[in-house]
């Protein structure tokens, strides 16, 4: 499965956010997108998922334009993991993960025993089995994020798009989610995720893309791209980059 963006201009009907963007994501790839607030990451992701129409250029999944993909089939191939949020209704973790099977369930049908099994498998992979019947709105933020990732797995998708999966997570939960993403990536599912913490790219990304005001200002392997000077031009603050085992730590320099 391969998702390709060719010379993409993306944005809203009245406003273009970015242009000239090209990227390629295959099953087994892992891509980290870095960029300040308002740089267009979410808009880009929505365009890659087919939720927003491309203003220029095109997005192809396995050679076919997204608009030509039937909705259910597209959902079987591409999954979306948003930031975990408070939900209005008290669904259980099991029910939330089961929702991932929608693309495989007929229009007037309910999930089958097989669907339920796949949901339970996904829950198990994410280590959430003990929370299967817990209410989604009452578990911790990290557990909620993991639940949404389980839902994407249950969807059976080959490519998963995650929008800031570690935002608003505490230190420990961040680590857990990153570990999970790393596992998923190495299991042959392609992932693309955005984050505000550049050092996360070292944990679970093969490639990094830096996005500023809709334009790519750097792309390549983490070691190549994530440097002090690149980060400074991306975020506009002086940054100290320190080598640590397994990657780099990136710290903003704050002077009084």
């Amino acid at each position: 499965m391969r998702l390709i963006a060719e010379n993409l201009t993306y944005g809203y009907p009245k406003r273009a956010i970015g242009s000239g963007l090209s990227l390629s994501l295959s099953s087994g790839d892992s891509l980290c997108v870095l960029g300040p607030n308002g740089s267009g990451k979410t808009t880009l992701f929505r365009t890659l998922l087919g939720l927003l129409r491309a203003k220029g250029g095109r997005v192809l999944l396995d050679g076919k334009e997204l608009a030509d993909w039937p909705r259910a089939q597209l959902a079987q191939a591409l999954a979306y993991v948003p930031q975990a949020h408070e939900d209005t209704f008290a669904f259980t973790v099991e029910e939330i993960v089961l929702m991932g099977r929608t693309a495989h369930v007929g229009l007037f049908a309910s999930p089958s025993a097989q669907d339920r099994e796949k949901a339970h498998d996904a829950i198990a992979i994410l280590g959430l089995t003990h929370l299967t019947h817990s209410i989604y709105t009452r578990i911790s933020g990290g557990e909620r994020q993991l639940t949404l990732i389980a839902r994407a797995l249950a969807q059976g998708a080959n490519l998963i798009v995650l929008d800031e999966p570690t935002a608003s997570l505490d230190f420990g939960n961040r680590a857990r989610v990153l570990a999970m993403l790393s596992r998923i990536a190495s299991s042959g599912i392609g992932i693309v995720f955005s984050t505000h913490h550049p050092d996360e790219a070292f944990v679970c990304a093969q490639r990094v893309m830096m996005l500023r005001e809709g334009h790519v200002i750097g792309s390549g392997k983490p070691h190549e791209v994530i440097t002090a000077s690149h980060l400074e031009s991306l975020y506009g603050v002086p940054v100290e980059v320190v080598e640590v085992p397994g990657g780099r730590a990136c710290l903003p320099i704050i002077r009084n």
Binding site: L51, A72, G100
Partner: protein, 340 residues
């Protein structure tokens, strides 16, 4: 109330049992003096054709007055609750009622217009039904044409605005109506009542309400997905526009049919789905049947009270609020975290 596992079978049986008990009670009670023996005899005669000796008019009371009224109460209660349940899921808001897109205002305007033009009862009901459908159609058309940031909020705001507009037309017609003959009919109709229900009303309303229930039942799994954000739902493969349209159509059909035969009765569509969710959780596949049962039981209980408690008929809308409000407050305070 909700934690870990839930004993669904027990809850459903309880609700069904309550409904059946209320049906029996409703047949037994009434202003016409019928002894328990008479009631049983009438039932035996109807079901088994056993010839019995009944007081004069007993059969009319049982089968022309009480039975249609009981049937209508069950249907209207179930229909309004189902409509409310689906809307609360769709608008992701547990405080939404079936009237939110203006169906009741439209139906009321249709009926008032029919009364003002001195039409016969069937035409008045038809006007009411069409009025409800047209009002929602208008709200949907305008809401879709206006490119709001959030389609659901746009829809709700349009519904409120158009509902208010229709309400002002109703007020105008009330002012112009013949004060001795038409105005009381209008006022009485707006207050809602099952007092004039006959079997002819059921014949019309039952298929319409059933028709509205079928799509909701078929889509019971998908409707859960409407409570996710638009992006999530679409990314999961849901056709949001089509699904929402079907929900709106079904809920409107049921509510318009209810208002056409019973006038405006509030609270049920708001309260019962809420309680159903507290009992069995938000999964629509479970909340729908529970809402149907609770709505039917509540409406029947209220209507039986309305026709037996005092010398005169009490408007059911008054009773649903009087009973519903403290009951709801009690539930909110004893449940651990409301609907969450």
């Amino acid at each position: 109330m909700i934690s870990g596992s839930r004993n669904f079978a027990r809850l459903y049986c309880g609700a069904l049992g309550l409904t059946l008990a209320l049906v029996l009670l409703a047949f037994w009670l009434g202003k016409f003096p019928l002894s328990s023996a008479d009631v049983l005899a009438a039932v035996a005669a109807k079901l088994f054709g056993v010839p019995v000796h009944l007081p004069v008019n007993a059969e009319a009371v049982m089968w022309e007055i009480r039975a249609p009224r009981i049937g209508a109460a069950l249907l209207v209660g179930a229909g309004l609750a189902a409509a409310g349940s689906s809307y609360q899921g769709m608008f992701k808001n547990p405080l939404v009622s079936p009237d939110i897109l203006g169906v009741s205002s439209g139906a009321a305007l249709g009926a008032v217009l029919g009364i003002f033009l001195s039409k016969n009862i069937v035409m008045i009901q038809l006007f009411a039904f069409m009025g409800g459908l047209i009002a929602v159609g208008l709200v949907y058309a305008v809401g879709s044409a206006v490119r709001g940031h959030d389609p659901l909020v746009t829809l709700i705001l349009t519904g409120v605005v158009i509902g208010t507009l229709l309400g002002s037309f109703i007020a105008l017609l009330k002012y112009l109506a013949d004060p001795y003959n038409q105005l009381p009919a209008i006022t009485f109709w707006l207050m809602g009542s099952l007092a004039s229900i006959a079997s002819s009303d059921l014949v019309v309303a039952a298929p319409l309400i059933a028709l509205g229930l079928i799509p909701l039942y078929l889509l019971r799994w998908r409707i859960n997905l409407l409570s996710l954000s638009d992006d999530e739902a679409q990314a999961l493969g849901v056709n949001l526009t089509a699904t929402r349209l079907i929900v709106i159509f079904s809920a409107t059909l049921m509510t318009a049919a209810s208002v056409a035969i019973a006038g405006i009765i509030g609270w049920i569509g708001l309260l019962m789905p809420h309680i159903a969710r507290m009992l069995v959780g938000p999964d629509f596949a479970k909340a729908l049947p529970m809402s149907l049962l609770l709505g039917a039981a509540f409406m029947l209980g209220v209507d039986t009270l309305a026709r037996t408690a005092a010398d005169i008929e009490i408007p059911p809308g008054v009773l649903t609020a009087l009973i519903g409000t403290p009951f709801f407050i009690w539930i909110l305070s004893t449940a651990r975290r409301g609907w969450r």
